[in-house]
Subunit: 358 residues, 2 copies
DNA sequence: AACGTTCTCGTAAACGTTTACAAGAACGAT
DNA sequence: ATCGTTCTTGTAAACGTTTACGAGAACGTT
C-alpha cells in the first residue's frame, strides 16, 4: 500500500498535474473543484504522501507539541499525572514531549531557554523547588506555561495547585475523631514546595483541633522516596510511640507500614496510617492505606486544558485553579477492619465542592 | 538578561554587521576570524538569540527527537523503562516524545504512519501484541525502529527482548529446590507477547523439573493489572491449594499476596510467591516479593542505545539482543524469614552472563 | 614581484510547506 | 454583448535555518 520513498508536495503536484498550491489546498480541505480534488487525493494516496511536520511547523509557527517537565519520575503520582496530561494533550491533537528535569531549578531554567528554540508550543511544569530565578524565567518565557503547584503571590501565571493544607486537615480530623492523640508526621524535605505546604498544613490542623504537638512526632525524610521513608520511620519509632502517622506521600506511607509491621505494630489498631496523593500503590498493600487524594489526575487534566485554552486564546485572563482534596479511607485507618475487610471497601469523604475544572 | 522578543539569524547578523552565513558558522563552531566570532557572539548574547529548532530541522532533516511508544502506562515496568530511555536519549542530545498507544496494534500503526511525517528521527516500540500488519508497517517504515520484545523469526529489525522462558526457569528452579510441588501460575492474557512467552516458559520449566502440572493450577488474568490479579487469585484459590505461586507480573503478584493474606495463608510458609519484572513495588510490600528480573531497565537502555547507534550509522548490521534474567530473592519465598527478616536483605542469583550491552 | 595556496566571508539556493496575490474562467445580470 | 461578481487555480514569496559556491584577502613560495 504505502510507498516507502519520501514524497513531497511537488511530487504529488506533478502526478496530479496541478500546482503545489492546489495540492496543499485540497489536503487542507480548502475549497477546490471536484476534478482537482479527486486527482490530488488519488495522487497523494498512490504516493503514500504524508506532509512533513517540520516544514509545516516552520511555516505556521506551531509545532503541535507540548512539553511536560516532571521533577521526579519514579514517584507514582507524577506518573499518573503524566499519563493524564498525555491523554488530554493527545485528544487535542498535540504530541507530548517529556523532559525529566531533576529537582534542580537550574535544570528547569535550561529547559526553559531551550524551550524558546521553539520545539514546543507550550509547557506544563511541576517544580519541586521554585526559586526567584525560575520565576523570572517563567515570566520572561515567550510561550505559554502552566505551572502545577503553588506559586508565590503576585505571579500571574496560569496554574493549578492542590490544597495540601486542607488535605492535612481532612487527615487530622479523621484521625482525631478516632481519639488518636499522638499523631506523628513523616514529611519529605521541607525546602520543597510540597514539603513546606504539608508541614504548615499539619501544624495548622493540629492547632485547630487542639492536639498537642511534640517535636518527637515529626521527622523529615531526605526525599520523597520509599528508601528515605524507611529510614525516617525507624527514626520516628526510635524516639516516640505514635498512635497515628500521617505521611506526606504514599511512598513514605508504604515505607512506614513496612517498618511498623516489622516492629510488630498492628495497623490500624495500634497505629493508624494515612498517606497522601492517593496513588495506586495505596491500595496494593495489606492493609491498604488511607490516603489524602490531592486530585493529582484532576490537577494534571486541568493544567493540560488550561494550556490548550491559552494556546487557542493567548489573551485569556490568567487562571489559577485550586483543586480540593478528598480523603480516601482504606483499611489502614479503619478501626476494627484490620485484615479481613469487605473486598475493595472504599468510602470517600469530600472536603468541599466547588472544584473548578477550567 | 535574555530578551523576550524572538530574534532570528538576520537580527543577529545586522547587529554584528556580518552576513547570516557568518553568524550561522560562528554559532556552529565552524572556523571564523576572531573579530567576526567576537562580534557575533556578543550580538547573539545581547539579543538572547536561540536558534529555531524547526527551521534547523527542516534544513538538516533531523528533528533530534526520538519517539517512544509504550503500550501500557500504569504498569510500573513500562514507567521504569521510559525513565531509562529518557535518560539515555537525553544524554545523546535527543528529546523524548512519548506516545502512549493503547495495546491495540492499530493504534501503533497509526503512530507509525504519523511518524513518517517526520516529527521524530526514530522510534522505540514495545508492542503488547504484534500482528502481521504491524510487522509490515514496521518494515516499511522510512525511519529506524527498535523493538522491545520478541519478534517473529525472520524479521530483521533491531530489537532487544527478555528471556522470560529462562526467567521462568529460574523461578521454578528456586521453588522446586524448596520442595514446592504444587506450583501455580497466574498469567496475564495469553494472546499477548509476554503472556505467551511466560506460559511456554512455565510449561517448559515444569516439565524439565518433572513437576506435575494441573490445569487447576493455572489461571489467566484479564490483563496485567492489580485488579485483574485479585480476581484471578480468588479463582485460583477457589479451585486449588498451591504451595507456591508464580505470577507473570509484579502487579499480579502483589494482588496474589493481598488475597493470600486475606485468606489467612502465610507467605512464604504456606505458599511461596514469585513475581516478575522486579519492579519497585516488589520491595514495598510485606513480605517483600521475590521477583524475576527480566532486565527491564537494561532492555530499555540497550534499546535506546541501539536506536542511537542506527541513527549514527544507518547501515550497521541488524542487532537482536537478548537480556538474561536474574532472580531477585526476597521474603516472599525465603523459608523461615517470614516477617522479621534482616533489613533489606537481597540476594541475587544470576542465570548466565554474557549480556550484550550494544 | 608574481603566482599559487589557503582562509575568510558574503551571496544565494535549498529544505517542504502555507498563503497573499493576481490572473483567468465561469457565471449571472443588465 | 458587456460588465461586474464570484470561483478556481497558478505564481511566488515567506518561514529561519544550513551550506555549496565563488570572490577576494592574506599569506607563503619561488
Amino acid at each position: 500500500m504505502a510507498e516507502t520513498r519520501k514524497s513531497t508536495l511537488v511530487l504529488v503536484a506533478e502526478r496530479a498535474g496541478v500546482s503545489i498550491a492546489s495540492v496543499s489546498r485540497v489536503l487542507n480541505g480548502l475549497p477546490a473543484s471536484t476534478s482537482v480534488t479527486e486527482r490530488v487525493q488519488q495522487a497523494a494516496a498512490e504516493l503514500g504522501y504524508v506532509p512533513d511536520a517540520t516544514a509545516r511547523s516552520l511555516k505556521v509557527g506551531k509545532t503541535e507539541q507540548i512539553a511536560l517537565a516532571v521533577a521526579d519520575v519514579g514517584n507514582p503520582v507524577y506518573v499518573a499525572m503524566m499519563h493524564e496530561v498525555s491523554r488530554v494533550v493527545a485528544d487535542a491533537g498535540y504530541r507530548l514531549v517529556v523532559s525529566s528535569t531533576g529537582s534542580d531549578p537550574d535544570d528547569q531554567i535550561t529547559l526553559l531557554t531551550s524551550l524558546n528554540r521553539g520545539f514546543a508550543d507550550g509547557l506544563i511544569l511541576s517544580p519541586l523547588r521554585v526559586t526567584e530565578a525560575l520565576i523570572d524565567h517563567l515570566r520572561a518565557s515567550r510561550l505559554p506555561i502552566v505551572v502545577i503547584g503553588s506559586l508565590p503571590a503576585g505571579v500571574d501565571l496560569d496554574s493549578v495547585r492542590a490544597d495540601s493544607a486542607a488535605g492535612m486537615g481532612l487527615a487530622i480530623k479523621h484521625l482525631a475523631k478516632q481519639g488518636r492523640q499522638r499523631i506523628a508526621f513523616i514529611n519529605g524535605p521541607v525546602d520543597t514546595v510540597p514539603g513546606a505546604a504539608r508541614l504548615s498544613g499539619y501544624t495548622l490542623a493540629m492547632a485547630k483541633r487542639g492536639i498537642a504537638m511534640h517535636g518527637d512526632l515529626q521527622v523529615n525524610a531526605d526525599d520523597f522516596t520509599f528508601k528515605a521513608g524507611l529510614v525516617a520511620t525507624e527514626a520516628l519509632l526510635d524516639q516516640a510511640t505514635p498512635d497515628a502517622i500521617v505521611c506526606a506521600n504514599d511512598l513514605l506511607a508504604v515505607a512506614a507500614l513496612k517498618v511498623l509491621t516489622r516492629r510488630g505494630f498492628s495497623v490500624p489498631n495500634d497505629v493508624a496510617l494515612v498517606g497522601m496523593d492517593d496513588t495506586d500503590i495505596a491500595e496494593l498493600t495489606t492493609p491498604s492505606i488511607t490516603s489524602v487524594n490531592l486530585g493529582s489526575v484532576k490537577r494534571a487534566r486541568t493544567a493540560a486544558k488550561l494550556l490548550i485554552r491559552r494556546l487557542n486564546e493567548p489573551d485569556a485572563p490568567v487562571k489559577q485553579v485550586v483543586i480540593e482534596p478528598k480523603l480516601t479511607i482504606r483499611e489502614s485507618s479503619m478501626i476494627g477492619a484490620a485484615a479481613t475487610p469487605a473486598t475493595d471497601s472504599r468510602s470517600v469523604v469530600s472536603h468541599s465542592s466547588g472544584g473548578d475544572d477550567a
